[in-house]
C-alpha cells in the first residue's frame, strides 16, 4: 500500500526525517518496502504550449514539435503522439536536471537539433505512465511558462510503500497507519473535517435500501446526494490519488477513492437515474444470474467454486426492479456507473461479511481495492463517518451539493467486538516481562480499544476497526501482541530457556547420516532431482500403475509425483554425460510416492473441514538411489559398493539374490534383491540400469553400463527388517589360522552367499568364508559353475592340529553337499 507522508502529517505530527519514520514503521510491523521522493527534481520543468507539429524527413517514429514556453518558439524532437497543436505539456529545457539526475542537453536527431525534452509522467517520476506526454490540459488550466511544480500545485512528498499484514484490517488506510504512529510516538491523532447533511428533505422520500440476507450484508447505508456536477477533481485530490497509485477519473469517483484510502471505508456511487426506484437491495445472487462488471467481463453468479469450503455464494446489489447492479464490495456493473450527465448520486457505504467477499473475489479472480479491504474486515461503524468525509471532499468541487437528511441505514448481522478479561499476569506470562500499567493503558487507548479497570483485571473491548481480535484466550493473545508491538519487540528482554531433556538425533536420523557418509566416502556426489515429473516419465517404468497427480501443476511435465528416483537420477547423469562429465557416481536421498489405490498400505489421516474425514494418502517411501556411471562401472561395481555399505552399516547377513522378475528400471538379467537373511525383508535392489531406460532419457543413447543400487531406507531403518550385527565383536585369535581353499561345482540355482552362509555354520572354528573365484566352463556340467571359497579356520585357545582341520574340511564338504555343491 502506497502512503503519502504529507497525508500522514495531516493526522499526526511526525518527525522531519523520512528515514527515521521508516524505522518506526518497520518496527511497528508496517514494513516499508520502498520509499519514493515526489516532486523533487522538477524545479526546472515548465509549462509549454504546442504551436506546430512537423514531420521529420525519413523518420516515422519521431516528429519535430515547435513549442512556446514564454520565450519564443523552441524546436524539439519528440517521439510521443498523444497530443495536438494547442495542448500544454511539460518541457525540460536544455540544462534542466530531471529526477534521477538526468541532465537535458542539446542533441541532434536525423539532422534536426532538439532544444530540450517534452516529458511523460514517468520521466517526471510522477507515475508509471509512459504511453505519451503528460497533457496538462486534462488536469489544470495551464499557463505558458509557469513552473510545473507551481502549475500542478505539487508539494514535495515522500511515498512509503508499506506491506500490511493479514491481521491488520485497520492499517489499510492513512488514518490507520497514523493511529499506530500517534500511539507509538505518544502524539494526538487528528480527525479530518467532516460534512453534515444540509438538506431538510428526508433521504427516505427519495431512495430506498434493504437487506435480504443479513448474514452476508451486515450494514447497508445509502446517502442521497443531489445537484451533483460531474467534473474534474481539485488538483490536491488528483495528486493524493496519484501518490497512492490510483488514477483520477472524476470528482464523484475520486472522492470515493480518496475516502477509502484515507479512512479505509470503500463506498460506491451510483447514478440515481439508472437505479430503478432509486432503491438498493443486498441479496444473495441466484444461480443463473449474470453480471457484466466494469472490466467488461460477463460473470456467472452463484456458481459454486472448486475450493474447499466454497459455497458458491455471491452477494449482489440489486435495484428496485431486482436488476443486478454489482458484485457487492468487489466491483460494480456498467449500467449504473457515474457519467458526465449524472446529477443525483446514491452513495453506498456498507459492511459486508469478509469471508463472503473473500470467496467471491477468489472465485471470480476479481480483486479490487474495495474487495481487498472488505475481505479483511471494514469497521462496521465507519460507514456514515466515511460518507461525511466524502461529502466534505465533493463539496469543494460542487458547492451547491445537497446531502439529504437521515441517510438510509439498514442493519444486518454485525460482529460484536469481543470483551476480554486481561489479567496483568497474562502479559508477563506471554511476553516474559511485565509492562507498566500506564504503558498498557496508553497503548490500548491510543489504538482505540476501550479499557475498563477492574479489581483484578482489565476489561478490554476492541474497536470496530479491529475485527481480527478474537474472543477468549485467542483474543488475549491478540491484544498482548498489540501491546508488544506498540511497546516495541526490540525492547522486550531476551532470555535463554533451559530444559533437562537432551537434544539429539534418533536412530533413523543417525543411520541416514551414516549411510550418506559411507556413500559419499565411496565417491558419490549427492544430487537432488525433481519430485514432480511428467506422465511420460512415469510411463517409462510404471505404465499401468495408478499415479499421484497434482491438480494444479505449473507445467504438464511437473504434474505427477515420482514413484522412483531412478528415472530422475539417470536423467541427471545423462545431462552431465552430454557435457562430457559422465564419469561419476550419483546418489539421491529422497521420498517416492505410491498412490493409495496402488498399495495395500496407504497412509490414513484426518482431513477435510474440521478434520472430520478420514483420507487415504499416498504411501511415502524414503529411498536411497545410487547410479554408478564411471567408465567400466556395471552391476559388479554396484555389488561391490553395496558390500561396502553393508559392512559399514553392520548389516551382517544380507544376501545378494538374483531375481527372475526385476523391478522396472533394472536390467532384467542383471538384477538382484538385497534380502536380509534373518528377517527375510527386502532392503532394496542392486544391478544395472535397464538399457531401455537409458535409451529413453538420453538422446542418441551412449553405450555405457550404469550400475544401480536402489535402497528402501524405511526398511534399512527398521531394526525388525534390517538386522544389525551384534555390538559384541570377536577378538581375533592370537593363534595361527589354517586356511583352506575349496572349490565346489554348484548348481546355478544355489546362491553363492547362501552357500558361504552354510559353510560358516560348519563349526565354531570357521572364522571367515570368502568367495574368491567363480568359474564357468565347458568342463562343468550344464547349469553349474565352480565357486571357490577361501575358508579361514582358527581357535581362540589353541593352534589347530591337522586332524581338526581335516575334520572341519570334511564337514564343510558335507554341508556344501547338502546344497548340491560338489567338491571340484
Amino acid at each position: 500500500m502506497k502512503i503519502s507522508l504529507n497525508w500522514l502529517r495531516e493526522f499526526v505530527e511526525l518527525p522531519e526525517s523520512a528515514e527515521e519514520l521508516r524505522t518506526v514503521l518497520d518496527d511497528l510491523g508496517l514494513v516499508v518496502e520502498g520509499v519514493e521522493h515526489v516532486g523533487q527534481g522538477l524545479e526546472d520543468v515548465v509549462v509549454a504550449r504546442v504551436d506546430e507539429i512537423r514531420e521529420i524527413e525519413g523518420a516515422d517514429r519521431i516528429r519535430l514539435v515547435v513549442v512556446d514556453a514564454g520565450h519564443g518558439p523552441l524546436e524539439i524532437v519528440c517521439g510521443a503522439s498523444n497530443f495536438a497543436v494547442g495542448d500544454h505539456v511539460p518541457l525540460a529545457p536544455v540544462g534542466a536536471v530531471l529526477p534521477g539526475g538526468f541532465t537535458i542537453s542539446e542533441r541532434t536527431v536525423r539532422g534536426v537539433v532538439s532544444h530540450g525534452m517534452l516529458c511523460s509522467p514517468r520521466e517526471l517520476e510522477m507515475n508509471d505512465d509512459h504511453q505519451g506526454l503528460m497533457v496538462l490540459d486534462q488536469l489544470i488550466e495551464p499557463r505558458v511558462g509557469e513552473g510545473l511544480v507551481v502549475a500542478l500545485k505539487i508539494t514535495p512528498d515522500v511515498i512509503f510503500d508499506i506491506s500490511v499484514e493479514g491481521n491488520r484490517p485497520d492499517a489499510w488506510c492513512v488514518e490507520g497507519v497514523a493511529r499506530d504512529l500517534a500511539t507509538r510516538l505518544r502524539r494526538t491523532l487528528r480527525s479530518p473535517t467532516l460534512a453534515t447533511t444540509n438538506s431538510m428533505t428526508e433521504s427516505a422520500s427519495f431512495a430506498g435500501a434493504a437487506i435480504d440476507d443479513p448474514d452476508l450484508c451486515g450494514r447497508l447505508t445509502v446517502s442521497v446526494l443531489r445537484e451533483v456536477k460531474v467534473t474534474a477533481s481539485p488538483s490536491w485530490v488528483a495528486q493524493r490519488l496519484q501518490s497512492s497509485g490510483m488514477r483520477p477519473i472524476s470528482n464523484v469517483v475520486d472522492a470515493s477513492n480518496l475516502v477509502m484510502l484515507e479512512l479505509g471505508q470503500p463506498t460506491h456511487p451510483y447514478d440515481a437515474a439508472q437505479v430503478a426506484q432509486r432503491t438498493l437491495r443486498a441479496r444473495r445472487a441466484r444461480p443463473g444470474e449474470t453480471l457484466t462488471t466494469l472490466d467488461g467481463v460477463e460473470r456467472q453468479l452463484a456458481k459454486s467454486g472448486r475450493g474447499l469450503g466454497d459455497t458458491g455464494e455471491d452477494l449482489v446489489i440489486v435495484d428496485g426492479d431486482d436488476r443486478v447492479l454489482g458484485l457487492a464490495g468487489i466491483m460494480g456493473g456498467a449500467s449504473s456507473e457515474i457519467s458526465a450527465s449524472t446529477t443525483d448520486v446514491l452513495l453506498e457505504a456498507a459492511y459486508f461479511d469478509p469471508m463472503t467477499i473473500a470467496r467471491s473475489s477468489k472465485r471470480h479472480a476479481l480483486r479490487s481495492e474495495a474487495s481487498n479491504r472488505f475481505e479483511r474486515g471494514v469497521d462496521p461503524q465507519l460507514a456514515l463517518r466515511a460518507v461525511a468525509r466524502y461529502v466534505e471532499i465533493l463539496r469543494e468541487s460542487v458547492p451547491e451539493l445537497q446531502w439529504l437528511a437521515n441517510p438510509l441505514d439498514v442493519r444486518g448481522t454485525i460482529p460484536t467486538p469481543p470483551s476480554l478479561e486481561l489479567r496483568r499476569s497474562d502479559v508477563g506470562r506471554l511476553l516474559g516481562v511485565e509492562i507498566a500499567i500506564d504503558d498498557v493503558l496508553a497503548i490500548l487507548g491510543g489504538l482505540g480499544f476501550s479499557v475498563v479497570q477492574k479489581k483484578d483485571y482489565l476489561e478490554v473491548t476492541a474497536p470496530g476497526s479491529r475485527l481480527d481480535v478474537r474472543a477468549g484466550s485467542e483474543g488475549r493473545a491478540d491484544v498482548i501482541e498489540e501491546i508488544a508491538r506498540l511497546y516495541g519487540y526490540r525492547r522486550l528482554p531476551r532470555h535463554n530457556p533451559a530444559w533437562p531433556e537432551l537434544g539429539g538425533l534418533d536412530d533413523r536420523q543417525r543411520l541416514r547420516r551414516h549411510l550418506r557418509e559411507v556413500v559419499v566416502d565411496a565417491g558419490a556426489l549427492e544430487a537432488w532431482t525433481p519430485s514432480l515429473g511428467s506422465d511420460a516419465d512415469f510411463d517409462l517404468l510404471l505404465r499401468d500403475q495408478a499415479r499421484v497427480r497434482v491438480t494444479n501443476p505449473l507445467a504438464a511435465d511437473e504434474s505427477v509425483l515420482r514413484a522412483t528416483q531412478i528415472t530422475g537420477l539417470v536423467r541427471a547423469w545423462a545431462k552431465n554425460y552430454e557435457r562430457g562429465l559422465g564419469d561419476v557416481i550419483l546418489v539421491e536421498f529422497g521420498v517416492v510416492f505410491t498412490h493409495p489405490g496402488a498399495t495395500s498400505d496407504p497412509r490414513m489421516t484426518k482431513g477435510g473441514v474440521g478434520g472430520k474425514l478420514i483420507l487415504a494418502l499416498p504411501r511415502e517411501n524414503e529411498r536411497v538411489t545410487i547410479v554408478l556411471a564411471r567408465q567400466d562401472d556395471d552391476a559388479s561395481s554396484a555389488v561391490a559398493l553395496w558390500s561396502v555399505v553393508a559392512r559399514r552399516l553392520g548389516l551382517d547377513d544380507v544376501v545378494v539374490r538374483s531375481v527372475t522378475e526385476a523391478p522396472r528400471g533394472l536390467h532384467p538379467t542383471r538384477a538382484a534383491a538385497l534380502v536380509d537373511r534373518t528377517s527375510g525383508a527386502l532392503l532394496g535392489h542392486v544391478g544395472e540400469v535397464d538399457a531401455e531406460l537409458v535409451d529413453a532419457v538420453t538422446s542418441g543413447s551412449p553405450l555405457r553400463r550404469l550400475g544401480l543400487i536402489d535402497l528402501d531406507f524405511d526398511a534399512l531403518a527398521d531394526p525388525h527388517q534390517a538386522t544389525r550385527a551384534p555390538a559384541a565383536v570377536r577378538v581375533p585369535s592370537r593363534f595361527p589360522s589354517a586356511v583352506l581353499d575349496l572349490a565346489f561345482v554348484t548348481p546355478q540355482r544355489v546362491n553363492a552367499g547362501d552357500l558361504a552362509h552354510t559353510l560358516r555354520q560348519a563349526s565354531d572354528l570357521v572364522e571367515e568364508v570368502t568367495l574368491f573365484d567363480v568359474y564357468h566352463g565347458p568342463t562343468l556340467a550344464e547349469g553349474t559353475r565352480s565357486l571357490a571359497f577361501n575358508v579361514r579356520l582358527s581357535s581362540v585357545d589353541r593352534t589347530l592340529n591337522e586332524n581338526e582341520v581335516t575334520r572341519c574340511r570334511a564337514l564343510l564338504i558335507e554341508l556344501a553337499g547338502s546344497l548340491g555343491a560338489v567338491l571340484r
Binding site: E481, G503, D521, A572, R657, A672, T770
Partner: protein, 357 residues
C-alpha cells in the same frame, strides 16, 4: 480384353507374407525390406503397370494394391517387433549375470571423490546447532491433508490466509483436501498430537524437510524447497525465550558478529508473531545492495503458539505455552556459499555438486 495386372495379387501377397514370416533376424529383415515393400518389391512393379489402365479401372486397381501393401507392411512391422523382442531377449540372456557370484575382491574400484549435497550439508549444520541447544529432530510426510497443513494451524477453509501459501493440490479425496505440504509446520501438529496422545510433553524439536509451493522457478524461487522449523512446548515459555533462542542460534550458526532482531509480523498459527532478521552477512551490518542498505536480512518467521493451534491439538494452554520458528534451509545455504541462483541446486551439474565439503 487383356488380363488385369492384378490377377495374381492374392497369391503374390501370400508369398510375401510367407517370406516375411521366414525372416529370422533383424539384419535379414533389414536386407529384405526393399524386395518386400520397397522399390524392388513385386508390389512396386505392379504399381508401375497400373499406368496403362483406363482412369476408372486404374482407380479401383490402385485401391486394391494399396490395401495389399497395407497388409504386407503390417506383417513386416509385426515381424520386426517380434524379432526386436527376441533380439533383446537373447542379448539379455547373453548378458545374464548372477550377482550373487560377483567376487567383490576382483572389482576394479577407481578412486573418486564424493561430496554431500549442499542442502543436506546445510541441514546437518543447522540440526547440529539446534541439537547442541537441546533440540531433538523430527521428520514428517511431504503429502499432507488440509487439516495438518492448514486448518489445525488456524487457517480454516477458504480463509484468505490460505492465499499466502500457493499450494499444489493433490488429486485425492474431496477437492483441496490433500496438498503437497507448503511448509514444515504440519509436522508441529503431528508432534503435538502424538505428545498429547502418549502424554509426553514437553517438546523441543526442530523439523527439517522438503516443502512445495506453486512458484514459477526463477533465481530466487523453486517449486520445491527446504525449511527447518522449530517447536518448543513447555511450561512457562515466553516471547523472551523465543527471542533468546533465535539469538543463540544466529550467533552459533552465522558467527559471533551476526545478531538477530524481531519485528512484528503475521502468521495465523502464532500470536504474537514476528519476522526475524539477521545482520546482513555480506556487509556485516553497514548496509549494502543485498540488504537494501538496511544492514539486515530477513531470514524467517516465528511467534508464540496461537491458542487456537493448542486447542486444535488438545494441548492445555493454561499449563503449557510455546513458540515456533521457521526459515529456509536453502536460503541459509545460499547466504553461506554466496550462490546467486537457486536453480543451480536442481541442475545437478557435477561441477557444482563437487564443491561442498
Amino acid at each position: 480384353m487383356s488380363t488385369s495386372p492384378l490377377a495374381h495379387l492374392a497369391q503374390q501377397v501370400t508369398d510375401l507374407l510367407t517370406s516375411i514370416a521366414a525372416l529370422s533376424t533383424l539384419e535379414e529383415l533389414r536386407d529384405a525390406e526393399a524386395s518386400l515393400t520397397g522399390k524392388r518389391s513385386p508390389l512396386a512393379s505392379l504399381q508401375k503397370s497400373l499406368g496403362a489402365l483406363e482412369p476408372e479401372a486404374r482407380k479401383a486397381a490402385g485401391a486394391e494394391l494399396q490395401e495389399a501393401r497395407r497388409v504386407v507392411e503390417t506383417a513386416l512391422d509385426g515381424q520386426r517387433a517380434l524379432l526386436a523382442r527376441a533380439a533383446r531377449q537373447s542379448s539379455l540372456e547373453a548378458d545374464r549375470l548372477d550377482l550373487g557370484d560377483v567376487v567383490v575382491g576382483d572389482v576394479r574400484w577407481p578412486l573418486s571423490v564424493g561430496h554431500p549435497g549442499l542442502i543436506s550439508l546445510t541441514q546437518r549444520e543447522l540440526e547440529d546447532v539446534f541439537v547442541g541447544m537441546g533440540f531433538t529432530v523430527a521428520d514428517g510426510p511431504e503429502v499432507e491433508s488440509d487439516w495438518y497443513n492448514f486448518e489445525a494451524l488456524n487457517i480454516p477453509p477458504a480463509h484468505p490466509a490460505r492465499g499466502l501459501w500457493d499450494s499444489f493440490y493433490v488429486d485425492l479425496g474431496e477437492p483441496e483436501t490433500v496438498v503437497l505440504r507448503t511448509h514444515t509446520s504440519p509436522t508441529q501438529i503431528h508432534l503435538m498430537e502424538r505428545a498429547v496422545a502418549d502424554d509426553s510433553l514437553p517438546i523441543h524439536s526442530v523439523m527439517p524437510g522438503r516443502c512445495f509451493r506453486r512458484d514459477t522457478p526463477d533465481a530466487s524461487h523453486l517449486y520445491s524447497f527446504h525449511q527447518i522449523e522449530g517447536l518448543v512446548v513447555d511450561r512457562g515459555i515466553t516471547f523472551g525465550d523465543l527471542a533468546g533462542v533465535i539469538e543463540t542460534f544466529t550467533r552459533a550458526y552465522f558467527g559471533p558478529d551476526i545478531s538477530s532482531r524481531l519485528r512484528p509480523g503475521y502468521f495465523p498459527f502464532t500470536e504474537p508473531s514476528a519476522e526475524f532478521e539477521v545482520t546482513c552477512t555480506i556487509c556485516r551490518g553497514s548496509g549494502c545492495r543485498t540488504c537494501s542498505s538496511t544492514g539486515w536480512l530477513e531470514l524467517g518467521g516465528c511467534g508464540m503458539l496461537d491458542p487456537a493451534v493448542l486447542k486444535a491439538v488438545g494441548v492445555d494452554g493454561e499449563e503449557w505455552s510455546g513458540f515456533a520458528f521457521g526459515f529456509g534451509i536453502d536460503r541459509c545455504a545460499l547466504m553461506r556459499h554466496q550462490v546467486s541462483d537457486l536453480r543451480a541446486l536442481i541442475e545437478n551439474d557435477v561441477r557444482f555438486l563437487g564443491q561442498f565439503s
